[in-house]
Symmetry: C2
């Protein structure tokens, strides 16, 4: 555990833009979340707001409100919302500065880096605080090429991929990790995004801020390091985007360079178009078609997890039953029922 | 035309490692190649050595040999060989320094940058020479995200992709560009590698040295810019790697984010394993399987180009006939017969 943190969502705690925060509320081994800064939801508990579970994470209107009222101290201020383009919003700066002045270090997952802003860097230095730019690419010489070492990994490697972005791949992987742990199965998650790092996963890399030539090698290196250092029973891999997302297809690296033993596929029931691209008319492909594509990469889909944000419980259950029947594989509703359904095919891989 | 250049291959002119040089010998609108530096092949003509066509490109043993004997002057020294990992070989430095001392600028396509080496940078400065690190990533703020603007392009977009890397995708695209030009069809090639830039193509980006998040956007931006500025009849796109190459799968961005109208698929006849990965036992997929995968991305394969380096003419002709029969699409032997065969389906797209 690195320390206590407050997470900044600036009025957007319930938006998809705050999915980093949602992940941190659900659980982080790196930071203990002691508050959320969000003027719209002041006075509520962030856990309750997310999924009805009270987690003792009060919401404050501002950093100064937190400093005044909280009994907890915070070591970190985490930017918990994303912006289109990964840019820092100038409106965030007063809260970032207030945190630095209170001696907090800043955790920033944007593509734009605080450490490159002279004024912010100087403010941080004068308060002995750090600027942690999670997406800052590794130094060139530290990046790995793919080497085929992946074939030395003898435990199952299971990417959790999706038919679209923002469907809950990381959350599903985390649920699987926890459910497997309860069965005594050590199945760490290799992270591939900044939130996964913030949640304290030990092995991984930030996929989207890696130079293309090194993506497969960094992925392999993360999986192989996890295998050698943790000696796991199974390795889960956080997926990114979707194989046919027009704005940035992704996934074949996980299937091929990551030598996947099988995948869990997350699908947003009721979503028609690729998220954010409704106006293009580009439809998300059916689960059946996605399974077929994954099979072309030599990998079988072991189970489905349904994101049910757009449907009610009855519709979710009906979809679950329908997919089970037509696909012949387990279909889970992670938020409503957990991921127990998916453990059977995963445990079967352990022999 | 930027100026005259000598190309450095250090004994490896006939190796695949010198494929940048092979491309430059075949033609560049940016540099006039006035010599090749290769101690193993001194005294020969580089064009003749490549494909039997004399191109008045004499081979010298060293930069000093070139300076002594050539009647031409050179403005540029191009590193024309690649190294595993894209590192600069210390053995190359004496020739690089000799070129700088003669006032030549250095064109470097490696992942390691000359401009970051203090001694080289100072030597360049004192001789008023430039260090052109082609793979140096763009400044963060200059990189584009995908925006769906690609759908405004109304001319056909044709990626030339392969079933493996190092099969002649760029060369095939170049042959197509030239053959189409002869028919009065303006079909520029959007480059995606450093050699494509060196050859003087106006639009493109270096795929493998782009941060993953911006790959689809930079590709789109290159195609859209080409469309707006050149008003072409068709746009060819240089492919990279292969959809299922384990060391770095690539191609779905070209198919989906690049909104491909169809593809030309290049296949290395007689090659069994993915290049460089024989020891893994990972076999290149059949053309049939690759066409099926490409179709899963919503794109049809319009024709095949066979790389015949590993087979004799008779075998090449037999394979050509066999694929034509089984696939029902044109199959070209670019080196032996040109790409005329492939023009029919391409011209048909022009309506």
């Amino acid at each position: 555990m690195d320390g206590n943190a407050i997470v900044f969502t600036n009025g957007k705690l319930q938006d998809n833009a705050a999915k980093t925060t949602h992940g941190l509320i659900r659980g982080s081994a790196r930071y203990k979340v002691v508050g959320v800064i969000d003027p719209v939801h002041v006075g509520k508990d962030a856990g309750e707001l997310l999924d009805g579970v009270h987690r003792n994470m009060p919401i404050f209107s501002s950093v100064s409100d937190f400093l005044d009222k909280s009994e907890e101290k915070a070591d970190y201020f985490i930017i918990g919302i994303a912006n289109a383009g990964g840019k820092l919003d100038p409106n965030w700066m007063p809260e970032i500065e207030a945190s630095l002045q209170a001696g907090m270090s800043i955790v920033n997952g944007m593509h734009e880096f605080l450490s490159e802003k002279a004024e912010v860097a100087s403010l941080a230095e004068s308060h002995n605080a750090s600027l942690i730019d999670v997406r800052k690419p590794k130094a060139r010489g530290d990046q790995k090429f793919w080497s085929a070492e992946i074939y030395e990994v003898t435990c199952p490697i299971i990417p959790v991929i999706g038919t679209d972005c923002a469907v809950g791949k990381r959350t599903t992987a985390r649920f699987l990790m926890e459910a497997l742990a309860e069965k005594g199965v050590k199945a760490p998650m290799v992270y591939t995004g900044q939130t996964g790092w913030m949640q304290g996963n030990d092995h991984g890399f930030v996929f989207d801020s890696t130079l293309n030539d090194f993506v497969s090698g960094e992925l392999e290196h993360a999986i192989v390091s996890c295998y050698r250092e943790v000696k796991p029973d199974m390795i889960l891999v956080e997926g990114q985007s979707a194989l046919r997302n027009p704005s940035g297809p992704c996934g074949s690296e996980m299937l091929i360079s990551g030598n996947a033993s099988g995948v869990i596929l997350v699908h947003p029931e009721g979503r028609t178009y690729y998220k954010g691209w409704d106006f293009t008319g580009k439809k998300i492909h059916s689960i059946e078609s996605e399974i077929e594509l994954i099979r072309m990469y030599g990998v079988e889909t072991l189970g489905i997890a349904l994101n049910t944000k757009l449907v009610n419980l009855e519709e979710a259950k009906a979809a679950q039953a329908r997919y089970k029947e037509s696909l012949g594989i387990p279909v889970a509703l992670p938020v409503e029922e957990g991921v127990e359904e998916l453990l059977t095919p995963l445990m079967a891989l352990l022999g």
